[in-house]
Every structure is written in structure tokens, then in C-alpha cells.
Symmetry: C2
Subunit: 359 residues, 2 copies
């Protein structure tokens, strides 16, 4: 009974979720951080949180309260200067900081520079260090709360409260007992994501490969990928929305995730596993935290090991892939972990309050 009432008290706290404004929240197609911010928001509401406010673009969609200052995402409206939209959006949250018990920042480093001016605690989920140089801001703000999205993606100088893996929306993903007959590689088209290695694996395996995703590096696409497209063995279908992604995963015998730099988390992996599709992933960064090696896919170190893994896909139990996601990477699992983190922050803040008032 006591635990139930303290949970009710926790869930009556006023939470502001700060989403980026590159895309709509949730995004129409690509937009990883906006996706996670949306999932956290909706997950909190689903778990009974009473006072959740999402700060996102004005056209965003949520069952929480929505506050927006920027009409549309700057990636969707190129008349906007990114920095202008960012600083307006962020400062509007900060101006209203007193209205919240906690600000959950999913928007990178710029919000940290407003920390000295607000009393409300802030939790920052670091969705990735886009460049070493941005750590200057993080290192300048060590007296705040951080969460990493994998144990691999941590900076040794920062105080983390926890790792909270991203959770995905299972309602968009159909589990299928039987797989397709193609290799699939999707996400964002960038050398980091190793689309060129996926092509090599497909060519060496002689199995059809479907590539999909938003093109983030046109030169890479034009020079390293496009020459291989033949509409037979190697095919590119562009970006996919959740419905198209589900259709794509139906075709998949395995998903190739041959990242060339340490993965921070890698949403593609749980998405694929949720559909029952085994994942062949490069053993860099978070991949070994997200897939269970030899049980839900294979960790590999190069193209040849990738080809070898393709040959062993049939020994993976697709049901097991799904269960692995259900147990670790659902929105509800993620929000359950965030609840614990929030609780810990409130505990620490109350402690600080006590100490400063001498009680």
C-alpha cells in the first residue's frame, strides 16, 4: 500500500520532456532522437504520469501537453536557420523551468548552458557525442544528471546515474515466425553505418540485399553504393516510414548492421529482432549490449565473418529474438527505468534541500 501511494506521488510530479526540433515529434520518417523523446513521453502517460509536457515543434503529436515555439522541424523547412530554432525552442523551456519538477533533456548540449539560471533539476539523456568537441560543454557541467543509452557510449569524465536503453514501439512491428529470403540494411545512409560492407556481404553470399534509409552523405551514396545497384542482387528503396519498415522486415532473412564506428545504441537492431529477424552486427560499441550473440544474431568483426554468419542464420530462434526485445527494449521497459532514475533524482534533490536548510 505504501509503495503504491509513493508511486502515485512520483507520477504526479511535473515533467517537461525536451525534444529536438529537427523533425516533428514523433517524426514522419527519420528522426531518432525525436522518436525516443516521443516514446518517453507517451510511455510516461501510459504508466499513469499525470503532468507530462512535451516541448517539441508545434505540429508534434502527443497525448501529453504539447508546448511548441517552432512551427516545423528545421530539417523539414529549410528557410529556418538551425541555431535560431534551437536557441528559441530551448530558451522557452528554460523560461518556464519553475513550472516543472524535472526537465528531461533529449536535446544535446545547448540546454546545459542555461543550467546556472534555473532551479529545476535537469536530466540529460546523451543520445550521442556527434563530435569530440561537444564534450567541452558536458565537461563544463558535471553537476547535473546524465543517462547514457548504452554502457559503451559513455564519457569517462561524466557522472552518469544509469544506462537506459532505448525502447521501441512494438505496435508498429509485426512478429513473424517465418523469415523472408533477403538481406536487409536500413537506417541512415552514412559511412558510419557500413552500407558498403553490407553490399560486400551480399555479393559474397550471393543473397539479395535491400538497402533503405535517408541519405545523409550523398557523396558516399553516389560513389560507394550506387555503382552496385542492379535491381537484382542490390536494390535501394529510399527512406522508409514505420509501415514501410514493417513490410521491409517481412522480406528479411537477416538484417545487416555493419557499423564502422562504435554504435551508440542502434534502434535498428531491436526493431529487427522484434519482427523476429536475426541481426548480424559489427562488434563495435553497444552492439554486444543490444543483441545476444549466437542467440538473436551474430557479432562479427569483418565482412568475411559477416558472410559466415549469414550461413548460420537458420540456427537462430526467431521467437527468441522477439522475446529478447520484449524483455529489454520496449517503451515500457525504458520508461520503467527512467522512473527509477527520476525517483533517484528527486531523492537527491530532497537531500540537497535538507542539507542546505540544515534540517
Amino acid at each position: 500500500m505504501i509503495r503504491e501511494s509513493s508511486k502515485m506521488e512520483l507520477r504526479s510530479r511535473r515533467i517537461a520532456i525536451l525534444s529536438p526540433v529537427a523533425w516533428r515529434t514523433p517524426p514522419r520518417a527519420y528522426g531518432a532522437w525525436e522518436t525516443v523523446a516521443s516514446n518517453i513521453t507517451e510511455g510516461l502517460v501510459a504508466r499513469g504520469w499525470k503532468d507530462v509536457t512535451l516541448f517539441a515543434t508545434k505540429e508534434s503529436i502527443t497525448s501529453a501537453k504539447l508546448v511548441g515555439f517552432v512551427e516545423r522541424g528545421y530539417e523539414e523547412d529549410k528557410t529556418q536557420i538551425r541555431k535560431v530554432s534551437e536557441c528559441l525552442h530551448i530558451s522557452k523551456v528554460m523560461e518556464r523551468a519553475d513550472e516543472f519538477d524535472l526537465i528531461h533533456n533529449n536535446f544535446d548540449y545547448l540546454p546545459l548552458t542555461y543550467l546556472p539560471f534555473i532551479k529545476t533539476p535537469m536530466l540529460t539523456t546523451i543520445h550521442g557525442f556527434s563530435d569530440e568537441d561537444i564534450k567541452r560543454v558536458y565537461h563544463d557541467h558535471k553537476d547535473t544528471y546524465y543517462v547514457s543509452i548504452s554502457d559503451a557510449d559513455r564519457d569517462s569524465e561524466l557522472p552518469y546515474l544509469a544506462t537506459v536503453y532505448n525502447g521501441i514501439d512494438l505496435s508498429n512491428i509485426t512478429y513473424r515466425d517465418k523469415g523472408g529470403d533477403k538481406l536487409v540494411c536500413y537506417g541512415r545512409v552514412h559511412p558510419d553505418k557500413g552500407y558498403h560492407l553490407a553490399i560486400e556481404v551480399a555479393q559474397k553470399s550471393g543473397i539479395e540485399l535491400i538497402l533503405a534509409g535517408i541519405i545523409q552523405d550523398q557523396r558516399y551514396f553516389d560513389t560507394m553504393l550506387k555503382p552496385h545497384f542492379d535491381d537484382k542482387l542490390i536494390k535501394f528503396i529510399g527512406p522508409v516510414n514505420p509501415v514501410q519498415r514493417d513490410a521491409l522486415l517481412k522480406e528479411a532473412y537477416a538484417v545487416l548492421h555493419l557499423n564502422t564506428i562504435p554504435e551508440r545504441f542502434g534502434l535498428v537492431m531491436p526493431e529487427a529482432m522484434a519482427a523476429g529477424v536475426p541481426v548480424i552486427a559489427m562488434d563495435l560499441g553497444s552492439c554486444r549490449e543490444v543483441i545476444a550473440d549466437k542467440q538473436t544474431g551474430y557479432l562479427v568483426n569483418n565482412v568475411d565473418e559477416g558472410v559466415e554468419a549469414v550461413g548460420k542464420i537458420d540456427s537462430i530462434d526467431r521467437k527468441k529474438c522477439r522475446e529478447h526485445v520484449e524483455q529489454n527494449f520496449t517503451i515500457d521497459k525504458m520508461v520503467e527505468r527512467y522512473e527509477k532514475v527520476y525517483e533517484e533524482i528527486f531523492r537527491r534533490e530532497a537531500q540537497k534541500q535538507k542539507t542546505s536548510t540544515g534540517r
Copy 2:
């Protein structure tokens, strides 16, 4: 006596000058905003201000107090992400706002977003709207103090306290009674600055042209300018520091300033006139505020009028050019005007204080 003592009181106020961190303050070569911020700082000290603090890169040079957080300008150290250096630099000023009676912002729009969190009044000199979109931030902050750098460069929706023309450092510029025999065009190599029009004027006049400046648009340089370089009629010498600029102005019969968009202020014009060099300027934006038409140069509307103006340069009194600058565009004149603006801000702030305390 009373006026003297009130001036002393004014000059004992604590002023923070916020300079950009693209370049050192003052810059080694190019860096218009850093130049002006430096001139304001040194000018205040020269006029007897006792407590002036310059916020700039750590390696900056000033006779005021220097506070820096960023080692070097992000344009001089390309490992830096511009936004990271900007937000760190700016937030450090804001964190110390209470130590100052006035923050004089020479750093564009980002500082405005911290205004709701500080009590110290801020004066923003708008050195230019780099894009229409940045006005979103200005329009969101109308309850602060603005100065324009020319009457031409004003946004109709903003409340300006005054126009304060930029002042230049005359100690770097040698006045010469007799001019050289070449046309000169310098500043930054960008289509806005009409270097291509200067080449046309030189070719039609048959007079040698020396081009100088930092290349801000390589494609423009390569396609529109470079094909004309012949080391005889048209020559390009790269960026010039103040010493090189003085040598360059010695060569000058006239300076061509054939801007293709409205000029915001145009430091090149007073620099040239200070050396006794008449300026032929496009009649766009501030040019007609800076040069006295037919007395210190000519306002023109196209290349042909430019060629015509070259033919009439001998009727310009070089002494008059110098005097025009001494009377209007010295550092001391600029700072004298800023003193009046600061005084007005303190008057208004005191008034606000009275109103809010009901006295």
C-alpha cells in the same frame, strides 16, 4: 562641476563588452565585429572608464580586464565546433551578469536568449542581419536595448535607442596628401562586396586594380575573379593586416566599394578616407551615410557610373576625406556616442526601478 562629477560617476560603472570568438580580439587580420568590439573597449578605457571587462578569446589583447573561456577563435582553430564555443563563451558572461551594470553585446542574437535570466541590462549592437531568419530571435526580445550601425541597417519592428557609426583606429592609417595611381578594392571576397564589378570598372578605365581580402566564397573567387588576374591590370594579393593595408592605401588613387547588396556600415570606406583616399561606392544601404557624395567620393549606381567617377577623382579634396573621418568615424567619436547611449540606458533603468518600488 556637476557635469564633471556626473561624468565621473558614469565612467565608474561596470561594463562588460561581449565580443565574438570567431577571431582574436582585436583580430590579426580579418574580423570586423571583433575589431569594433576592441575599439569600443579601448575607446572606453581611453575616455577614462574605470571598470571595463572584455569577454573574448583567451589570447585577446586589451587594456581593459580580459575574461576568456575559449582559447582561440573558432575560425583560427578548426577543431572547434562553432556553436560549442559560442554557447560556452556567452553563457560564461551571463553567469557573471550580476558583476556588471551593463552588458554590451556585440555578438549577434544568441545572447538575447539568456536575457530572461539576468537582471543586468544589455545593449546589443546589431552589426548586421546575416539572414532574415535570425530576426525571429530579435523579434522575440523587443524589451531590451538596441543600437544600429547605420540608419539604413534597421529592422522596422525593433526599438532602437540610436545609430552609432563604427569608429576606426586612426593610429594605423597614414594620411597622405598625394594619392597613388591604382584602384584598390579590399575587405572580404564575396559577391556581396562586388569585386567582380571593381574588375569591370578597372578594365573599362584602363587603370590598374589591386584586389585584397580574405576569401569567403571560393567558388566566386575561382570563377568570377581569378580568370581576370594577369599581374598587370588586375592583381590579387590576399588578406591584408593593418600594416599591409596602410601600404595598400598608399598605392590607391581611389578605393572601389561596389557592394551589390545594401551595405550595413562598411569599415573600408572610413579607412580609405582616413588615408585621404576617395571612395567610389554603390549607392546601397549605408554608403550615403558614410561617404559625402562628391566631397569625399562618389555614390554610383552601376559600373558605367563607376567608370565616370574614376574620371572625376581629381576633383575630390583628399584633406576633406580625412576631416570627414575625424569628425564622424573615429573610435573616440563612436565611444562618445556610446557613452550617451549607456547614460540613457542607466536613466531608463533607474526610472524602472523607481516605478517598481513605487517611489
